[in-house]
């Protein structure tokens, strides 16, 4: 064979031959390499395989990533992402093109899981899954607590011990799940869905003890986040230690730094419940006592008033009756108060007594009181004063003025209303004027 320049080639390759040789040379020289670059022309084929180009300022390299490897990438791959890929060079003979067959993709500068975490957090945040308006309030006194965790982990021990310490009688239902590894997220989702579907579960604790980001990964998966969000029962997320934040923590109604803390959030100490109730009760009793004392002193101060001097004997009787009733009532109340302080274990007995004794006493007192108050009411000129009439006093308020002749020009008089009084200087006295003329004037 002769060619133009008169040089005879030693060997002429077919396209297939040279392609195969290049393939052999390339593939044996670069069986495993790491390449960094920017992802572009990202394309996901419906078969599940991925195609993208790695590029830098000057060059481009085609890549393919097969479905089974794609599944292992936790974060979302897209154009513009700076990545480091591990793989081998391969020549695709039908097209004579070389490409990188990618086995592993890592984001540049941070771990793959870290990037996946950030991406999902951003996405769910945008969707509103972390919004405080969706956070459910924890019940004050749950009767039944659901726990989604491993039955053999440290978390379940911490949770049960803490709950038992705080509140002796509590119904706990454990939904056992794998908390790490293949299938863990699916089991956690099942657990949340199942416990959330039970009518009598008041609150759910979901979590596990500490571990690496890989160990905690199930709690960073989107399906777990969505299960938490869709659960109708309030969920406390307790994953790892204080410093570990997972997606589950952001979606849950409450985040607890550790499983023990979650248990503490579930229920107040029984003792502190009792103390709260006891304090309220004491306040009620002392308020009631104070209230009745006020009433009594009001009545007595009226009774001591000169106006009632004519009825003095009758009032003395009234006063005595009031005192008797009062003493009885107070004795009972005080006894009950002491009991509250001294003997917490017999609270039920104490309640029974309060209910029966104090109530009866107070009802009795109330009945008597109403009778007395009615009597007092009938006797009282104050009743009239309440309507706006006044009384007039002379001699520095010592004597009640009943007739005009008791009033002299330039003398000081005290005029009192039901509430309030004023002192005045008499400017003029008209002994003959009738009240009628003034009243008719006012009507006009």
């Amino acid at each position: 064979m002769k060619v133009k320049n008169g040089i005879y080639p030693e060997k002429v390759y077919t396209v297939s031959e040279i392609t195969r040789l290049v393939k052999q040379a390339l593939e044996s020289t670069f069986p495993l390499i790491w390449i960094e670059g920017e992802m572009s022309n990202f394309f996901r084929h419906h078969s599940g395989h991925l195609y993208f180009t790695l590029k830098d300022e000057a060059s481009q390299l085609r890549t393919v990533m097969f479905r089974s490897e794609v599944k292992q990438v936790p974060f979302e791959m897209k154009d513009g992402l700076q990545v480091i890929c591990r793989g081998h060079l391969n020549v695709y003979e039908p097209r004579g093109e070389y490409q990188l067959v990618v086995e592993v993709v890592e984001p540049k500068g941070k771990g793959a899981l870290q990037l996946a975490f950030e991406q999902l957090r951003e996405k769910l945040k945008k969707e509103g899954l972390f919004d405080t308006k969706f956070k459910k309030k924890l019940p004050l006194l749950p009767k039944k607590v659901g726990v989604v965790t491993s039955p053999s982990g440290a978390a379940i021990v911490d949770i049960i011990r803490t709950l038992e310490r705080r509140f002796a009688r509590l119904h706990i239902l454990i939904y056992p799940v794998k908390v790490q590894g293949e299938g863990a997220a699916d089991e956690i989702v099942e657990g949340i869905d199942y416990l959330g579907s039970l009518a009598d579960i008041d609150v759910i604790i979901m979590g596990r003890g500490g571990g690496s980001i890989e160990d905690l990964w199930a709690f960073n998966e989107e399906k777990v986040a969505r299960a938490i969000f869709n659960c109708s029962v309030p969920i406390i997320s307790a994953v790892g230690h204080e410093i570990d934040f997972t997606i589950a923590d952001f979606v849950a109604d409450v985040r607890a730094s550790t499983p023990s803390v979650a248990a503490e959030m579930v229920i107040e100490k029984e003792q502190s419940f009792l103390e709260r109730i006891g304090t309220f009760e004491k306040q009620i009793i002392s308020q009631e006592k104070y209230f009745l004392q006020e009433l009594k002193s009001e009545v007595l101060s009226l009774a001591h008033h000169k106006i009632f001097q004519n009825f003095k004997i009758k009032l003395l009787n009234l006063e005595q009756k009031i005192d008797e009733l009062e003493t009885k009532a107070w004795n009972t109340i005080q006894k009950e108060q002491q009991k509250i302080g001294e003997n917490k274990s017999s609270v039920i007995l104490m309640e029974e007594k309060i209910k029966n004794n104090v109530k009866r006493m107070l009802q009795n007192f109330q009945g008597q009181w109403e009778k007395l108050a009615a009597e007092l009411h009938n006797l009282s000129p104050l009743n009239i004063l309440k309507k706006g009439y006044t009384l007039c006093w002379r001699d520095e308020g010592q004597r009640l003025v009943r007739q005009i002749k008791e009033v002299h020009i330039e003398s000081e008089m005290i005029v009192s209303f039901f509430k309030g009084e004023f002192t005045c200087l008499v400017k003029n006295v008209d002994s003959n004027k009738l009240i009628k003329s003034r009243l008719s004037k006012e009507e006009r």
Binding site: P139, L140, L141, P142, K143, P151, S152, I156, V157, I160, R161, E164, F167, A168, R169, L170, H171, I172, L173, I174, Y175, P176, Y194, D202, E270, F273, L274, R276, I277, G278, F280, E281, Q283, I284, I285, Q287, E288, F291, L292, L295, V347, I348, E351, I354, K355, V358, K359, L362, Q363, Q366, W369, E370, A373
Partner: protein
């Protein structure tokens, strides 16, 4: 749900205390509040007593049917203590 009524009752009791402290009540009102408050306190204590202690675990059989079993904590403290003892041995 009982827990809601517990919360309501506690809030109501607190309100009664406030009302009584606020004053401006007739004797009748005051006594009625007092009685109600004492009843509420009693109810709250009863509610606290009502719950029963139980720790259960859900188990699934091959058919996917769930059943509950009583769950007991592993005697973790003792076993870890004995392990520790062994670790302390010099050989």
């Amino acid at each position: 749900m009982r827990d809601l009524s517990f919360e309501k009752a506690l809030a109501e009791l607190e309100k009664i205390v406030e009302k009584l402290e606020g004053g401006d009540l007739s004797l009748n009102e005051s006594l009625a509040l007092f009685e109600k408050g004492v009843k509420l306190a009693r109810y709250l204590r009863e509610e606290l007593q009502k719950a029963e202690k139980k720790v259960e675990i859900l188990l699934k059989d091959e058919k996917g049917e769930t059943r509950k079993e009583l769950f007991e904590l592993p005697q973790e403290e003792e076993s870890s203590a004995s392990e520790k003892d062994e670790d302390d041995l010099p050989f």
